[in-house]
């Protein structure tokens, strides 16, 4: 036919399960253990309180700037809980809830926030890449890890997380296409929190949704209510399953909202209004999930208070541990470590000169 529509050849879907009013679509409801549900709720609360505490610590000058995930807990925990322990997780810089779930200790996060490289070391046995600050640059890494997993037949899946703004970068495009061409076992999770610092979606991209970018790579895309933990979990579980069974990547767009600052250097009042924030506060993902739990799972309202105390205590302890580690880690000479597997001669000399200078004895230059 001379003039006709072109078919995409891939599905692009929307998914929600528990809506804002707490209405549940029973058919779509996943069959998850109560234990897991309770753990996820606990993780959401922990992350929220941890972010709040860190905002305080930052204001007191005890840690530096960081990117809170407040408002995005359902997206992050819904997705990460679909990943197996032996799978890979490739974060950007706002994924504290996910990292904690994967086993990074609270004190390590604090150490990182306080400017210590040691905070970035992944815990023993954990398969997370460290934080990637350059936006989108981690997407190709995920494609490569996935390629290697397929080649070496390890059965691993890779979940990579990034923001709405990140989809504008060339690296997103190249990484997604690389994964798609090679049908690498990769889950591309876009946390659409509506802003890239001050830039809203409509100034960020020509498309109305992010999920439709999946069409570019010929991969399935699913757009999901990112404040609905169960919906995100279902979408992620499907994507993980697809990846694991050899059918390649999926693009997930989780529609959510950053309720707090971009980082502590940011002032949202310069680019968005209170009303908008208020509307989204009403959709708070923790509150929605708590109500669901209280309704459906044998969890009493009372349990929540106990949880708050427990969480506060864990955070206190973590800060103490972090402070202790910081005291031990004073020595800046460690900056000469880990540049190469073996320190080359000229670097050894620079290190020696640095040490000598600190003894005030040495020459420089």
């Amino acid at each position: 036919m001379p003039r006709q529509d072109v078919e995409l050849g891939v599905p692009l879907e929307w998914l929600g399960i528990v809506d804002e009013q707490g209405q549940v679509d029973e058919e779509l409801l996943p069959d998850l253990d109560d234990e897991l549900l309770v753990a996820l709720h606990r993780a959401m609360v922990l992350s929220r309180r941890f972010d709040e505490r860190r905002l305080q610590l930052q204001r007191q000058g005890r840690i530096g700037t960081f990117a809170p995930a407040i408002g995005q807990e359902a997206t992050q925990l819904g997705a990460i809980s679909a990943l197996g322990e032996d799978d890979w997780f490739v974060p950007s810089y706002r994924e504290t809830p996910m990292s904690l779930w994967r086993g990074t200790p609270l004190w390590a996060v604090l150490l990182y926030d306080a400017g210590y490289n040691e905070g970035a070391e992944p815990p023993e046995g954990n398969k997370d890449l460290p934080i990637a600050v350059p936006v989108s640059s981690q997407v190709p890494h995920a494609a490569g890890i996935g390629y290697a997993a397929r080649l070496r037949d390890t059965g691993e899946v890779v979940l990579v997380s990034f923001g709405d703004g990140a989809t504008s970068e060339g690296d997103f495009h190249e990484g997604a296409n690389f994964a798609a061409v090679h049908e690498a076992p990769v889950v591309l999770l876009c946390q659409n929190n509506q802003y890239a610092i001050s830039t809203p979606l409509e100034q960020q991209m020509g498309s109305q949704t992010i999920v439709q970018k999946a069409a570019s790579y010929g991969i399935p895309g699913i757009r999901v209510d990112g404040n609905d933990l169960l919906a995100v979990h279902v979408a992620a579980a499907e994507a993980v399953e697809r990846a694991r069974s050899g059918d390649g990547p999926t693009l997930i767009e989780a529609v959510t909202y950053r309720l707090s600052v971009h980082t502590t250097a940011d002032d949202p009042s310069t680019y968005r209004d209170e009303q908008e924030e208020e509307r989204w506060r009403e959709k708070d993902p923790i509150e929605r999930f708590r109500r669901y739990l209280v309704d459906r799972v044998a969890m009493a309202e009372g349990d929540v208070d106990g949880l708050e105390d427990e969480v506060a205590e864990r955070i206190d302890e973590a800060w103490e541990q972090a402070e202790q580690r910081m005291a031990e880690l004073g020595d800046p000479v460690d900056m000469f470590d880990h540049v190469y597997a073996e320190r080359p001669a000229y670097l050894e000399q620079q290190r020696d000169a640095f040490q000598a200078e600190r003894g005030e004895g040495g020459d420089d230059g």
Binding site: V133, E169, Q203, M335
Partner: protein, 326 residues
């Protein structure tokens, strides 16, 4: 005449140049609505509108590439990359196009483009926010590479960069953004590109620095003066094209040199400065040229960044060594 921080001084330059030239545009991530993460472009959108002050998508290569297109089609874009550590995303647009369009088209297309990037360590920022890789851009024919040290020269250099018919990479020392205020005249003032300046005269040793390291170098000169050593301090201002007359002349007077930069040591800018001295003033050297630089390690996270950076003590020690030797 007002007392301004470097941020305010840069902002003044942008305001005045936009008002003077309708062809001038400002673009970058978050430069319009919020006035940039450091607020250097604050107020521009309100005054000149969102067609001339543009929040772009988050994509550095296209920010530089689109700016080049704007420049070719009659505009004078000043684009901001949020930190120089993200400038590598646009390296190919700078190296392969901005630097070459005049040359490639045999002068038919000019690229009067300024690419602003905050650079350098010392503000307790995250990874990639403390880079000082001016050597990359200085090594590319067709680009100019400028680094101011204080509010007043920052304003004057930015105005010159905007009016320059060629692409200028303009590094702004974050550590000096709000570190001090200086008198900056209300009326127009320019500092020519390609000219360094002597900021302190002295006969005993020549200290060469730029950007955020200038303040530390001046501090070192004060310390040396306490012992009766008079250092001549030179602020390069433009890294490329490098003004080698001022410092080679100084070396002929002092015979002793220390070059200071926070960039990594190996293959850093000091190599070029030294070679120009070798080529023009070798016979006047009384001791080996010395350098005080960042180390050849990735800039550590902020708990250790001060240890990475040259400080006045290291500069003083290097100067003393240069003076002791003969």
């Amino acid at each position: 005449m007002a007392e301004l921080t470097m941020i305010q001084a840069l902002n003044l330059a942008l305001h005045q140049e936009m008002a003077a030239d309708d062809a001038m545009l400002v673009l970058g991530e978050d430069v319009a609505q919020t006035g940039g993460v450091f607020r250097v472009t604050q107020g521009l959108k309100d005054e000149f509108g969102s067609e001339r002050v543009i929040d772009t998508p988050l994509a550095e290569a296209s920010i530089v590439g689109a700016s080049l297109g704007m420049a070719v089609n009659g505009c004078r874009p000043v684009c901001e990359l949020q930190f120089s550590g993200f400038g590598y995303f646009a390296m190919h647009q700078l190296e392969s196009h901005a630097a070459r369009m005049r040359w490639r088209s045999r002068g038919r297309y000019e690229v009067p483009l300024v690419v602003r990037m905050p650079y350098g360590a010392g503000v307790k920022a995250l990874e990639h926010h403390s880079e000082s890789k001016e050597a990359f851009f200085a090594h590319v024919p067709g680009l100019k590479m400028v680094i101011p040290s204080g509010p007043r020269v920052a304003r004057g250099l930015l105005v010159s960069a905007i009016r320059d018919p060629d692409p200028v990479v303009f590094f702004e020392p974050k550590a000096a953004y709000r570190a001090c205020k200086e008198e900056v005249p209300d009326e127009e003032e320019t500092v020519p590109l390609g000219t360094s300046r002597i900021v302190r005269e002295g006969d005993d040793v020549t200290l060469i620095a730029y950007g955020a390291m200038l303040a530390r170098t001046l501090q070192a000169a004060e310390q040396l003066a306490e012992d009766g050593i008079e250092a001549e301090v030179i602020d390069l201002l433009t890294i490329s094209p490098l003004d080698d007359s001022t410092f080679t002349a100084s070396v002929r007077k002092t015979g002793r040199v220390v070059i200071v930069h926070e960039a990594h040591r190996s293959f850093g800018p000091a190599g070029e400065v030294a070679f120009r001295i070798l080529e023009r003033s070798f016979w006047w050297l009384e001791s080996p040229i010395r350098r005080v630089t960042g180390y050849d390690v990735t800039v550590p996270f902020f708990a250790r960044e001060q240890a990475y950076l040259p400080d006045a003590d290291r500069i003083v020690r290097a100067a003393r060594t240069a003076l002791r030797e003969e």
